[in-house]
Subunit: 290 residues, 2 copies
């Protein structure tokens, strides 16, 4: 999807959020906000929001000399998520439709965006999400696709969130091989290899890096290995808004986007209210946009 | 008040809102958004939000070669407000406390911020505001001040809004001389002399310009005449958030701030929830901050 004019104030907000995780000093926060201004000025209206955000986070990372400012908070998120999931996973298995429940848990993970919210009542979110209606849910399509999916690629989003993806990944393993792709370079609180290793992923999956330092999945920045996995996959599960922003136009793959529509722009793209739970195939999206 | 870090994304949003009033062309809107970036970079944390917004609107105005892009929309706002007020003013006069009702109408006018909302159900807002509790209301203080107020200065805010100030201005005229100050240069939809002349202001007031092109009232940019009026006033009524932002620190004048707290930052300053109706004296503010 192309950037929308409404996204521009949000880029500054994203820099502010990242800065606030890194330092309490207002002067330093302002300096990090300023790092977002040049990418905003350079932005083309043909870019995806993730392209522009990527440039901002690259500058923030350069300023931090490449250190992963979110490393501590990511480890803590994973730990908290593991604790919650211990009680939550049996509920999913006992549920009348375990696939739908696993998708709910996975979208719940996306709600818990530790890049935005750091002080959040995880338990109440997890309870609510089992009852909250989906804004859009391509469930029967997924159920008919899965038996033909011999190779599945799972695009991970945030650290911590990945723990909530485990029941769904376990479910996918019943059908075919599953590759779980994480970021090669830390960008905000996106899961890297280190985060994934701590997330209790089931045995049998193949954990790969996407070769990129970008927000979302900007294919031309990814490694050959990742692109081969992308092309070879019969079915792709794409977690989070940034992966949606960067892959919604892909037509020659079978992608399911699982995310909470956290802004008016993405909500509008799938025709739901802001904050809706979304689990939508790219084919359903194309039908929507036709 | 000093700018807060949360204000920075909002400056880009304000440029976007202004741009959207000026043109439908996304490329031109983006160019106007870009005009906000340099003032954001140059901003000092000791500035008020209005200082920074002023720099942004100066650049937008320069780009428009000084033409008042909001002239049409301001005239339309005033016309709509006049129609509503025809029915609304008798309700104020019949009210058990006409001063409180006039303050309510005046704050209602601030709700109708045509710089932000262009498509708004004015009738329902006007009805609601008669019953909505104030977040903060220095009414008894104002009632005890008014009999001693021989010279009153009224700082106008938006075109259209000024029509809703008429009942309050009429009330003030019972006590002393009333000067109503408007902007000398069009800045967004702030009322200028032309807008004020169309607003049905009561006879007996003196209409003055503040000599400034700034958002809010930045005293050092105002004319000597205005500053004399400011210094000589026994009582000042200040409308809107920007006047609050720029005058909340003034200690040697008796100022009542009437506004709807449209953001978390200003709401936090007066200790109310966002979107609360506020009518608060600067002395009450100083007590709050003590």
């Amino acid at each position: 999807m192309k950037v929308r004019l409404e996204c521009f104030p949000c880029f500054v907000r994203q820099a502010l959020i990242a800065a606030s995780q890194i330092t309490d000093d207002p002067v330093q926060v302002k300096e990090i906000i300023d790092l977002s201004l040049e990418p905003i000025r350079n932005a083309r209206l043909s870019d995806t929001p993730a392209h522009i955000a990527t440039e901002i986070y690259r500058r923030i990372r350069a300023r931090l000399n490449g250190t992963d400012a979110f490393r501590g908070i990511k480890a803590q998120c994973t730990e908290t998520a593991l604790k919650i999931m211990r009680d939550f996973e049996p509920m999913i298995e006992r549920s009348p439709d375990p696939l739908e429940a696993a998708i709910r848990a996975s979208v719940a993970g996306n709600v818990i965006d530790f890049g935005i919210y750091t002080d959040i009542n995880l338990d109440s979110i997890v309870e609510n999400i089992m009852h909250e209606p989906f804004g859009i849910l391509s469930l029967s399509e997924l159920k008919s696709d899965l038996p033909h999916a011999k190779s599945i690629l799972f695009l991970a989003d945030n650290a911590g969130e990945l723990v909530f993806d485990v029941p769904l990944i376990r479910h996918l393993l019943q059908f075919g091989s599953v590759k779980v792709a994480v970021k090669s370079v830390p960008v905000i609180n996106d899961a890297t290899m280190e985060d994934a290793m701590a997330s209790g992923l089931p045995p049998g999956i193949e954990l790969i890096e996407n070769g990129s330092d970008c927000v979302g999945t900007i294919l031309e920045t990814c490694s050959d290995e990742f692109r081969r996995a992308f092309e070879d996959a019969d079915l792709i599960i794409s977690k989070g808004q940034a992966n949606f922003e960067t892959l919604d136009d892909v037509k020659d793959a079978n992608i399911y986007f699982l995310f909470k529509a956290k802004c008016e722009v993405t909500a509008g793209m799938v025709g739901v209210e802001k904050d809706s739970l979304c689990a939508v195939s790219n084919r359903a999206l194309l039908r929507l946009q036709a």
